[in-house]
């Protein structure tokens, strides 16, 4: 087999740059609309002034969480292949492996956006309501006994410590995996594969704990009063299916560019099954959480869904979320044939990627912008900027090594994959 090498050409880089510029332009247009459209500086219910910058901060945070999750669960996908000794996927492993590069970027972005969104103002805006110090002043007019009770977990030093620990652990394990995989290209043999299995298992264990706690920290705590034991797994389900969609789309695109010439429809079929199964898994988790809260109808829990379904801004997103993430992928990917044809996979993956962006939008926006949220140029532009950045990092990762881990002991199994 001749070497399959991806070259990140200047032309491609230029295209991504243009995409990024278009994104920036959209955000600017969006800002102009919001700032001068007469809705820029309204009095919010909580008494804080609403400013268009708030919407920018919130959008940064949504995309940061979303793309970080895709990168992270892409590495999880890779780790699962090693830990379960999967053979079929050995051919395409380098794609999720390239996702890991984004975790480094996300580390910086998370810190910066956290700082901007909570401290850069204007008018004392916080993405995280619990950062408002007046909530903890006993006897003060803003005193909130419930949030004060959570202070042992939700306080800035502990929050930042956890944040750093998560990233250090993720990056460390990803580096181990990536380096070992690159060494295998040079040296061959089984020993690297065996080490990769160990590293992958360790990554899975770390991920199992940190994915939940990170979801509590970065998403759940936005609606500070609200709680749900399912939440960590819900965020995981949303990330994971989006990552599989991203892997599939990039694989199909590379194939269309003349790479992965030994890819067959059985590989696609397996990815299609993953997409189908995890779309259902996400729905299962979504439905379980929703039904239990709906059925018990306890005010402090039900408020979360009421804020979304009974609002002008978010009700449609609530239904679009289910349409894009369950109904459409379910029916598109149901038949065997559709899982084996790139056109159906492309359609389904696009819906899933857009759908799960909306999912995170719906988790984060109502708790931060309340009635000032919307979907417009700022949202679209910001998502385009992040997507272009993410693709840029992934492509650079892909270009650094052979597209196929040529000494992977399962490679022959994967090349002759047949179901």
């Amino acid at each position: 087999m001749s070497e399959d090498k991806f070259v990140f050409t200047a032309g491609l880089q230029k295209k991504l740059l243009i995409a990024k510029l278009i994104g920036i332009a959209l955000v600017v247009v969006g800002i102009l609309f919001v700032a001068f459209g007469g809705h820029g500086h309204e009095e919010a219910a909580a008494g804080h002034h609403y400013h268009w910058l708030h919407r920018v901060w919130v959008n940064l945070w949504i995309n940061n969480i979303y793309f970080l999750g895709i990168a992270l669960t892409g590495v999880l996908f890779l780790a699962l292949q090693y830990a379960s000794q999967a053979g079929w996927s050995a051919y395409i492993n380098r794609i999720p492996e390239a996702f890991g590069g984004w975790i480094y970027v996300a580390f910086g972005l998370t810190l910066i956006i956290f700082g901007l969104g909570n401290y850069a103002g204007p008018s004392h805006f916080h993405i995280f309501h619990w950062l408002d110090s007046s909530l903890y002043v006993e006897g003060g007019e803003n005193y909130d006994a419930i949030i004060a009770g959570k202070q042992g977990y939700l306080n800035l030093p502990f929050f930042l410590t956890r944040l750093v620990i998560y990233f250090v652990l993720w990056i460390m394990m990803f580096r181990f995996i990536r380096n070992e995989s690159l060494k295998e290209d040079i040296n061959g043999g089984d020993s690297h594969w065996r080490k990769l299995r160990v590293y992958s298992t360790v990554f899975i264990i770390i991920f199992a704990v940190t994915s939940s706690t990170a979801a509590w920290d970065w998403v759940l705590s936005i609606d500070t009063h609200w709680f749900s034991t399912m939440f960590g797994w819900y965020v995981f389900a949303s990330w994971f299916v989006a990552a599989i969609a991203a892997i599939t789309l990039i694989l199909i695109w590379l194939r269309e560019q003349g790479h992965f010439m030994q890819l067959n429809s059985d590989h696609l079929h397996d990815l299609g099954k993953y997409l189908f199964a995890f779309s259902i898994f996400w729905t299962y988790i979504w439905f379980s959480q929703y039904l239990l809260i709906y059925y018990a109808n306890i005010p402090e829990e039900a408020v979360y869904f009421l804020e979304r379904v009974n609002s002008e801004q978010y009700a449609w997103v609530f239904y679009v979320n289910i349409l894009l993430n369950f109904i459409l992928p379910f029916f598109i990917l149901m038949t065997r044939d559709s899982k084996r044809h790139t056109i159906f996979l492309k359609i389904a993956c696009t819906f899933i990627l857009i759908g799960h962006w909306f999912d995170f939008y719906l988790m984060i926006t109502p708790g931060t912008l309340s009635e000032n949220g919307g979907v417009g140029f700022i949202e679209i532009g910001m998502a385009v900027i992040f997507a272009a950045g993410f693709i840029y990092v992934v492509f650079r990762g892909l270009a650094k090594a052979s597209l196929v881990a040529r000494n992977h002991p399962m490679l022959e199994e994967s090349l002759h994959h047949h179901v």
């Binding site: 704990v209 939940s212 009063h225 034991t229 239990l292 002991p409």
Partner: protein, 457 residues
């Protein structure tokens, strides 16, 4: 062309040929059972008859003979029910989900695991029936029959009714799945039969199977369809069982993580029971080449994965109970860990979360004795998990004047014993009269995974 990587170790050891498979498995059906079988059967029949007395008294006198009181209105009955349903998850997971994941190692264990599943679900179904008091009227109460049949409509909003549908569907599909798999093997036994009686019986059981290409083609498509149907059922059954609790507003019951966490716990306990049974079966029937240490190691890995998921769920519940700021939630969990039932909570934590972690050591997860011991520990732990959830959440009522403890009576224990009697009697009958390993499927992997084939190359 199918390629098998050199890093994979063979699943079937001992250089078995296709003929060996038929011989090794069929001989157990054809030969007289060993003395140990009669001994085992005698013990399970004793359980069954002692239990039968308890069951008869419960049905005759009513469920007042149990230790329930007005505060703890659900205890061993539903604990045992959930425990057995949970155990009944491994078989279909092995045969359906592992089939979809193309895990060939399932082929040596799926037959016995599915049989175990079916018997466990029968044991589970016993509890809702006996709990209805007049069980001969139970059919009218749980089935949605029109009012003209003498009863009121069932309550469609109740998760207990959803259970009726979920479990009966699951039972039916599992039974059909299991039986379809048995047909080619019954035909093999029929063809080898030396006496008329077994030829006729196994002939009838095999539905005239001749093994033509068309037969096999249909067999394979039916298996795939049933696997597709069974996969959501594996998830739905325990999800709905968890709804029995989680849809309520009882602190300790109402928590959104219940559905996936119950499913994981069910798979966890199901695999433990499969291991307990198969370790004995493989020893008595000398099946070490078919159910190799590698099979046992894989099952132990599933135990450690599902056990750790359960562990994370326990910790999540504890954390969120504190984080919620709801005093009733916080109390429910504090009381579980430190209240009068602390010992049940400690048993649950030790057996389900701590000890299964020992399987991280390769030495332990490949040791037969350690596996056997830990598999029983897991099943004890999973019984206590349900007991903890059910009884500790109920025994502290909203009114402190109603606070109570639960003490089981002879009939609580006896009814539980009865289900053990049913379970093991059925399992031993199965082990004697049915092929305990799916011969047809194991033969299909002899070529690609057995040691003899590798040696020839």
């Amino acid at each position: 062309m199918e390629v098998v990587s050199s890093v994979r170790t063979p699943l079937i050891t001992g250089g078995k040929t296709v003929g060996d498979v038929t011989q090794d498995i069929c001989v157990r059906v054809e030969a007289k059972p060993p003395k140990s079988w009669f001994l085992a059967m005698a013990i399970s029949l004793t359980f069954l008859f002692v239990g039968l007395y308890a069951v008869f008294t419960t049905a005759w006198e009513g469920i007042g003979v149990w230790g329930l009181n007005k505060t703890v209105g659900w205890a061993w009955d539903i604990t045992n029910f959930v425990w057995w349903v949970g155990i009944g998850h491994a078989g279909t997971l092995i045969s359906a989900i592992l089939l979809l994941f193309r895990q060939k190692w399932r082929m040596s264990i799926n037959r016995a695991a599915e049989a175990m599943t079916i018997f466990a679900v029968i044991c589970a179904l016993f509890f809702p029936f006996i709990h209805m008091g007049r069980l001969w009227l139970g059919f009218y109460w749980v089935m949605p029959l029109p009012n003209t049949f003498g009863s009121l409509w069932v309550n469609f909003n109740s998760p207990l009714l959803w259970d009726v549908f979920a479990i009966s569907t699951y039972f039916t599909v599992s039974l059909v799945f299991w039986y379809i798999g048995l047909i080619p093997d019954f035909a093999t036994i029929r063809d080898r039969a030396k006496n008329k009686v077994s030829a006729v019986i196994y002939g009838a059981l095999s539905f005239g199977w001749v093994g033509s290409a068309k037969d096999w083609s249909r067999y394979e498509s039916v298996s795939l369809i049933l696997a597709g149907l069974a996969t959501p059922l594996v998830l739905s059954v325990h999800t709905i069982v968890s709804f029995d609790f989680a849809t309520s507003i009882i602190p300790g019951w109402h928590t959104t993580i219940f559905p996936p966490y119950f499913v994981s716990g069910a798979v966890f306990s199901g695999f433990a029971m499969v291991l307990t049974l198969l370790l004995i079966t493989r020893k008595v029937y000398k099946l070490e080449d078919y159910i190799s240490v590698q099979h046992i190691e894989f099952m132990n890995i599933i135990i450690i994965v599902t056990g750790s998921i359960v562990g994370i769920a326990y910790l999540t519940e504890l954390f969120i109970a504190w984080y919620s700021g709801v005093p009733a939630e916080q109390y429910a969990f504090l009381n579980r860990a430190t209240g009068p039932y602390w010992w049940a909570y400690a048993t649950m934590m030790t057996c389900n979360v701590v000890t299964p972690q020992l399987f991280w050591f390769k030495k332990i997860r490949t040791s037969l004795w350690a596996t056997f011991f830990l598999s029983i520990i897991v099943n004890i732990g999973m019984w206590f998990e349900r007991f903890v959830i059910i009884v500790t959440s109920l025994h502290r009522d909203f009114l402190p004047s109603s606070w109570a403890m639960f003490y089981p009576t002879f009939y609580d224990v006896g009814d539980y014993l009865f289900t053990f009697g049913i379970f093991f009697t059925f399992f031993f009958l199965f082990a004697k009269f049915f092929p305990v390993i799916n011969m047809a499927e194991v033969k299909s992997i002899i070529k690609s995974t057995s040691t003899s084939d590798k040696a020839l190359k």
